[in-house]
Amino acid sequence: MQTLKSKQNPPQEKNQNQAIFALILIAVIIIAAIVFNIITGGEFLDSTNIVIVLSHIVWPTFVAWGFCFLFACGYTDLSIGAIIVLGSFATTIFGNWLGYPGVILGGIFVGTLLTFLNFNVFAFTKIPSWIAGISLAMIYEALAVFLKVNKTTEALIYVEMDKSLRLLGKLPWSVIVLAIGLVCAYIVYNRTSVGLNIRALGGNKEVSKALGINITKTLLMVGLISGLFIGLASVIQQSIAGRTLVKTGLTSINMMFHPLAIVLLAQVLQKRLNIIIAVPICSIIIYAIFNLLTLVRVPSGTLQEAFLGAFLIAFGIIGQRGSKGVVK
């Protein structure tokens, strides 16, 4: 037994510890930002640069929240990048046609529908999700190519959104959407039966079943919830970029790299901080690092990603200090 003695108000103690840790983390980020600012000769904390960083963290944060639900139930879906591409197309097509209702509903509808469809495939075919995900990614990429919207070349396709419809990609709207997303994700993940059932499913499928949790229904709910976040990510991504580029050959998986890095970092922190809260913090950390590397003229692409990879490993080592056993 841990102990046979009772303790005073342990839940309050836990919340207090989480709050203290979050404050420490934010303080560290602020100190790091000041150091970065000195290194870059004042460019890092320039208001324009801050706006750039804040604008760019929103859509990957939504995708990362979607991943939180997906990973919590023990599944992996490699077609999310392709879904974002199709969701972005839908945002533009419906937006250009119907205005703002089309912008919002188009992306959310396609994102949710496709992710939900994926989870139907996982639930009913019993194919390992990472295999099914790759197959679905190839189908979705082909579908995007097949749409041939404003086709310019054989390999590269893009679709452009009307500039007047891109408000959600700008401050303060993008940050307001982010705040709403945080509250919704936190509540669904931590304070709803479906959120708890999703986490139970990832923890132990057999126990969940024995406790009367409907496995198929829960899986489909994951598809629906993750899909909503991914659909919204498509809307914001398109609102920032204005156009979507896609190549075939599973390159849509690239779109998942940053959100994945955010979730992995958040998983390292989740021992001390709720993962839903950790996601936007990690999102800021990662984009701040990329921004710093760009400002100090580190070539974008491979070298920056190598820096990010090294950072993730270093952060992981620090975060897992004191963990017993193998950390998967």
């Binding site: 046979l4 342990p10 986490r199």
Partner: protein, 501 residues
């Protein structure tokens, strides 16, 4: 049907493919009756209560609950009929807090406008712990990393929270230390006094006779005996279970500590913060050194720390023959030490791998050729030899571990170390969840290892086990060594309990 009968089972049958797991099972349980269910591993006990709990559907036969036909479609359906279960192998969800685990699958009662009120949920969970006088568990803490005993307590709280008229307990006592075992006995008595019934599965014959009103014995899926506990003896039960007399040399019959002068391992001032403090002892060649204590005494931590699985903040484990300090499990393994943990499914075995792989894994270094090549013939030979030597009941050596019964899993778990030249064997609750036949066999293996000069650290929650097997017994309390008792001294349960408490 008599009004005082709660559950009547008539000619229940259950098949798993070609295996006839339950054959025409019939028995009744009265209101307020405590019934024991016993049988060898694989005799069909868990299958039977799984049908009562709605985990499996029966293939034929009927069940009557309070005179009404009862055929639960799921565990939730069984809960709705006031029947709940604590399973041997199931468990809790590590990624969720303890409080949520108590009400998982039933969180809707705390939900308003779609939001679960965790404060109310934790309060209700705490009330269950208080109502049934269960040991304290931090309800807001994730169950991941909690000890097996704590996890069982949470499962028990979960089962009790459905206010069961019939509670099914599948081998949970062997996960509990002595003090919590006593608490469970008190709980069972309380349920009885409330007119509720309990079915207890245990491999501890004496325990079952002590706590139950009646005992049903299963063998090869059939009921072979239904006896009143007060009118029976442990030997009668054992005979019914295995269909033959069980020989008397279950434990050691000598009362003299016998071991060599050479110290194999010296442990000095070993400290793991919050778990054990300043633990020092020597273990000699051919010695069985027992460890016992209450639930928070730290006995299980000693095993892990000596083997290098836990990093101590102070002290050291010194391997005398090689004059080196053991700091890591890999070093311990390389230097002829072995560790058999209490939680065999999660910490010892590769549960989804084959018997072949599990037998070979600890011996790969010895089996590999000069360039590191592992000959499939050699691997197969070792697995076959050990399977036959230990009489592991299986279809073949490529059967996966999760398909084996608890006793057969433990034979593989322990036996794979005995295939090596081991100098120090650390056994943590080696007979947890195994029947009397396998138990006797495991004791014979420990005695054989002693005869071959192996030093053994035997950690156990069962006092009779450490008293029956040890040369010396270290009694721990609050993470410290409280006393060391030799086999030729006052080596009785009473004297040990006095030191433990």
């Amino acid at each position: 049907m008599s009004a005082d009968i709660m559950l009547e089972i008539k000619e229940l049958n259950k098949y798993f493919g070609p295996t006839h797991a339950n054959k025409d099972i019939s028995f009744t349980i009265k209101k307020g009756e405590i019934k024991g269910l016993i049988g060898e591993n694989g005799s069909g006990k868990s299958t039977l209560i799984s049908q009562i709990a709605g985990l499996y559907a029966s293939d034929s036969g009927t069940m009557l609950l309070n005179g009404e036909p009862y055929s639960p479609s799921s565990p939730v359906d069984a809960n709705n009929h006031a029947i709940s279960i604590v399973m041997q192998e199931l468990g809790v969800i590590g990624s969720l807090p303890a409080g949520v685990n108590v009400f998982l699958g039933r969180t809707k009662q705390f939900t308003k406008n779609g939001i679960v009120n965790l404060k109310s949920l934790n309060k209700a969970a705490a009330e269950q712990f208080k109502k049934w006088d269960l040991p304290y568990v931090p309800l807001n803490k994730l169950t991941d990393g909690m000890m097996i005993e704590t996890r069982k307590i949470i499962e028990l709280a979960r089962a009790l929270s459905v206010e069961p008229q019939l509670l099914l307990l599948d081998e949970i006592t062997q996960s509990l230390s002595m003090n919590n075992r006593n608490k469970l006995y008190e709980l069972i008595n309380k349920l009885k006094s409330m007119g509720r019934s309990v079915i207890v599965i245990s491999h501890d014959v004496e325990e079952l006779i002590h706590i139950t009103d009646s005992i049903t014995v299963l063998r090869d899926g059939e009921v072979v005996g239904d006896v009143i506990s007060n009118d029976t003896s442990a030997d009668d039960i054992k005979r019914m279970m295995v269909g033959r007399e069980i020989s008397g040399d279950y434990y050691r019959d000598d009362m003299k500590p016998e071991y060599g002068d050479d110290v194999v391992v010296s442990v000095r001032n070993l400290t793991v913060p919050g778990e054990i403090e300043d633990v020092s002892f020597d273990v000699h060649e051919s010695e069985i050194l027992g460890f016992c204590g209450l639930s928070d005494s730290g006995i299980h931590t000693v095993g892990k720390a000596v083997y290098g699985l836990l990093k101590p903040s102070g002290g050291q484990v010194y391997l005398n023959s090689k004059e080196l300090v053991i700091k890591k499990a890999s070093k311990a393994l390389r230097n002829n030490m072995a560790y058999v943990p209490k939680d065999r499914d999660n910490e010892a075995l590769m549960i989804h791998a084959s018997i072949h792989d599990n037998f070979n894994l600890p011996s790969l270094t010895e089996l590999q050729g000069s360039i590191g090549y592992l000959s499939p013939g050699k691997l197969k030979k070792l697995a076959l030899e050990m399977t036959n030597k230990l009489s592991v009941k299986c279809t073949d050596i490529y059967q996966t571990m999760d398909a084996l019964s608890g006793g057969n899993k433990q034979k593989v778990n322990l036996g794979r170390w005995l295939a090596k030249d081991i100098k120090l064997l650390i056994l943590d609750c080696p007979t947890r969840g195994v029947d009397v036949g396998v138990k006797a066999y495991i004791y014979s293996l420990i005695k054989e290892a002693k005869k071959n000069g192996t030093a053994t650290i035997l950690i156990s929650d069962e006092l009779t086990e450490v008293l029956g097997m040890s040369d010396r017994l270290i009694v721990m309390k609050d993470g410290r060594v409280n006393d060391v008792i030799h086999r030729d001294e006052d080596f009785t349960e009473q004297s040990v309990i006095k030191v433990m408490i």
